[in-house]
Subunit: 253 residues, 2 copies
DNA sequence: CGCATATGGTTCATATATTGAACCCATGCT
DNA sequence: AGCATGGGTTCAATATATGAACCATATGCG
């Protein structure tokens, strides 16, 4: 792997921890030599991507990503555009609605609007969504290129519940159904008792950039209800995309 | 320079542009060979730090920094902590107040609260603040280690206005005054007609992490007024730091 | 038209940055 | 004292990055 790749992987790993690691921890977690880990950390620190606590000598994510994120959002205010739609959908469906974005080979939750009900599904911002076990992943993948699909299928599909689809051929069939239907349905693929439906948010070229999903407790979501949600979610996804790309064309000539 | 450094510099340059560059532009801007630029871009793209528009083939900042920034902010909610104080100060001073953070060797504006008055100073979020020509920079540097000061002084001090201090020995004197006084004063160092005062926000170890500043039109800010602002700004900086580090000790032991 | 120029992208011998085992130096524990 | 652990460093060996030259395609333009 390239050095840059290693550095970025390090950054990613660091971001996934919930404790601040020391040098040795970093090396172990990233499967790097201590010297290598250190060089990468120093380099990342120079640029503000990590910072070392001057007292504990532990490392943490630095402030540079915050600046980059601001720039990104200023130019591409995805969240700003999408959040009102997510809220709206959460309001009408009365279920938890969450938004995810594809970045670095994975789909991650970037916003959640909770259901107003007491019995509701909880989704945390930042969660990675496996492609084969979530409605969001399914929706994203169903509208992605063949290559993306093959990449996902090149690894074995991890089982999370008894309902998780792990058979590639069954999974392919679900992708086809999703693509035709316009939205995906996941039946307890990641967690028992939770069903959800999702649709991809696509760029004008048709390339998905993320997904929006409604997650409901199984007890409340009949197939009919879920299909209704599916239609709403697909509609919302389309409207987000239109709003996001529609008015503000990336300043090309 | 290390490859990682090049990649991160590329990312930084990319973030400073206000147009989406193509491969050749990137190579030129970063002073890299086209092939090198491409490899770095590909690597950065793999991890979501840049993305290439599938239609125009131009490159832009990707979504990964947004995720990292969320993680960073979740653990270190600097903005969330600081913004109320900034608002408060803007309210009482009736002048533009801005907050900056040190990252990647530079001080950048991360939040601005505008003065409610019609005649006011405008500061853009994301602006880099030269150490020698702004109150924020002066404040930051005055409380930094000797090494940081020498690093800054190792480059020649660029002049922005007729008032910009470019003489290192004068600058050192100002640093000493600032350190003693507890806040800095900049007299039109970056822009004619603008005076400002700033104080560093420091970690418990005394290491500055950023600065908070009040910027006012010269016409309105007598020396007395400015000194009053300076005291407020220093007080606010101290309170931000206490709030930021005080309650939530970095989970050490 | 057809030539010139610009762009995105690729190749491969060469040069250079990266690697990691072994090392040093604190600190803390027994 | 003796040992263990963690941060940090060194330097010869080697994997990795580099860039001049190369395509392919697109866009002027006389």
């Amino acid at each position: 792997m390239s050095t840059v790749g290693k550095a970025l992987t390090l950054l990613d790993r660091l971001s996934q921890l919930n404790t601040e690691p020391g040098l040795t921890d970093v090396a172990r977690i990233c499967d790097l030599d201590k010297a290598t880990a250190r060089r990468l950390l120093v380099e990342l620190e120079k640029h503000g991507f990590v910072e070392q606590d001057p007292e504990t000598r532990k490392y943490r994510i630095g402030a540079a990503p915050v600046r980059l994120a601001r720039v990104r959002e200023a130019r591409y205010p995805f969240l700003r555009v999408a959040i009102p739609f997510v809220k709206d959908l959460a309001g009408t469906s009365e279920e938890t609605v969450h938004l995810s974005e594809f970045a670095g080979g994975q789909l991650s939750t970037i916003h959640v609007e909770d259901s107003p009900r007491a019995h509701r599904v909880i989704v945390d911002v930042g969660t990675h969504l496996p492609f084969h076990a979530t409605a969001s992943g399914l929706a994203y993948l169903a509208f992605s290129g063949r290559q993306q699909i093959e990449t996902v299928l090149s690894h074995s599909l991890k089982s999370f519940t008894d309902y998780t689809v792990t058979d590639p051929s069954v999974f392919r069939k679900m992708l086809a159904e999703t693509a035709e239907r316009g939205f995906s349905i996941s039946n307890q693929g990641l967690e028992i008792g939770v069903v959800s439906t999702a649709a991809p948010i696509c760029s004008p070229s048709g390339q998905p950039i993320g997904a929006i999903a409604i997650a409901a407790p199984l007890a409340r979501a009949s197939v009919a209800v879920l299909k209704g949600f599916g239609a709403s979610v697909a509609d919302t996804a389309k409207r987000i995309s239109e709003k996001y790309y529609g008015s503000e064309r990336p300043s090309g000539t």
